[in-house]
Symmetry: C3
Subunit: 136 residues, 3 copies
C-alpha cells in the first residue's frame, strides 16, 4: 500500500469545476490508501477564505453559459468543501496554504476555512512529494 | 522499459490546444514504451461526444484572436483525435471516461467516440496510476 | 537525494500567475536537490520570446480585474524570469522549447530569451522524466 507514493495536488485554480475535480481525486487517492497533500495557491487559496468558500466560484471559460449553470447546480448539491471533509475521513489528507500566496493576498491562517491544516512553504511541499505532483 | 511507471493523464480541459497537447504527450509516452491512461472529465469528456468531436473547441483564453485562429488552422490539419488514434497504434493507450462526469452530463457510452474504451471510476484510474498523474 | 526522480514541468500556459507558479515550483524542487526539466509549449513558449518576456501576460480568467492588477504589481517586483534564473543558480534546471510548438509559431531558437537552453521533442522530454510530470 502506498507503493506509488503520495499524491501531491497543487490547487492553483479557483473555479468550482476544478475544485470539484481536485476533491474527487483526493477522495479516490485516499480510498486507495495513498497519502494526499493539497497545496493551495493563488485563486485556489482564495476560494478557501471563510467568507467566500460556499459562494459561487464559476467554471472554466470553455464551460459557456450552459456549462457554468450545470456546475453551479451540481456544486450546490455536492460541494467540493464537503467532499474534501469526506476525503479527510477516509484517509490521510493534509491541506496546506502556500506561504507566498498568503503574503500576496495579505491574509492570515484565521481568514481560511478550518479545512486548511497549516501554512507551509514550497520546499516543505516538495519534500513531502514522494509520488505524482498534479497541478490543477 | 516502463521503469518510471505509467503516464496517467486527466483530460479536464476541452479546448483544442490543450487536447492537442494531451495527444502529443500520449504519443511521446507511448513511443517511449510507457503505458498511457487517459481519464476524460468535464469539458475534456464533452469534447469526445460523437456529435461534436471534430467541431471547433477554441483555445485557452490567453490565445487571443490570433492564437485561436492559429490553433483552429492547425487542428484542421492535424486533429488531436487522429493523433490519439496514432498513439493507440504505437503503444498501450487506454482512454476512459470518468463515471461521475458522465452522470453530470447525463450521457452514456454510446454518445462518445469509439476512441473511448470504457467508463470507469476515479478509484480504478488511481489504482492503475504507477507513475505521474498529469492534469490537463 | 533525488530519490523521487526529476520534476518535469510542462509550461503550457502563458499568464504571469501560472508562470510565477512554475518558477516557484522550480526553485522549490531545485532547493530540495531534484533535477528540474521545463518544457515550453504553446502560450508558455510564446511568453519566452525575447521581444515580450517582460511584457505583461495577464492572469487566469478567475483573477478578475482586482486579481489581475495584483498579479501585474507582484510580477513587476519579482519577475518569474528572474526567479527561473535563481532556480538555475540553485540547482540543475534545464529549460527546453517544444519543437512542435516552435514550428506552430514559426520561430527559431534566436527568437527566445537566453534562459531557454535548447529545442527538443516530446520523446526526449519524456525519456528524461524520472519523476512527476506536471502540466501548468
Amino acid at each position: 500500500m502506498d507503493e506509488e507514493g503520495s499524491l501531491s495536488l497543487i490547487v492553483f485554480s479557483g473555479t468550482d469545476d476544478k475544485l470539484t475535480s481536485a476533491a474527487i481525486l483526493a477522495i479516490g487517492a485516499a480510498a486507495m490508501g495513498r497519502k494526499v497533500n493539497l497545496f493551495l495557491q493563488y485563486w485556489g487559496l482564495d476560494a478557501f477564505r471563510t467568507d467566500r468558500i460556499t459562494s459561487s466560484h464559476g467554471a472554466a471559460p470553455e464551460a459557456g453559459a450552459t456549462g457554468t449553470k450545470l456546475i453551479a447546480e451540481h456544486t450546490a448539491k455536492a460541494h467540493w468543501s464537503e467532499m474534501l471533509r469526506q476525503a479527510k475521513d477516509i484517509g490521510t489528507v493534509k491541506i496546506a496554504a502556500c506561504a507566498k500566496s498568503m503574503e500576496l493576498f495579505q491574509i492570515g491562517k484565521d481568514d481560511l476555512d478550518p479545512l486548511v491544516d497549516e501554512v507551509e512553504g514550497v520546499a516543505t511541499f516538495i519534500a513531502d512529494a514522494t509520488g505524482p505532483i498534479t497541478f490543477i
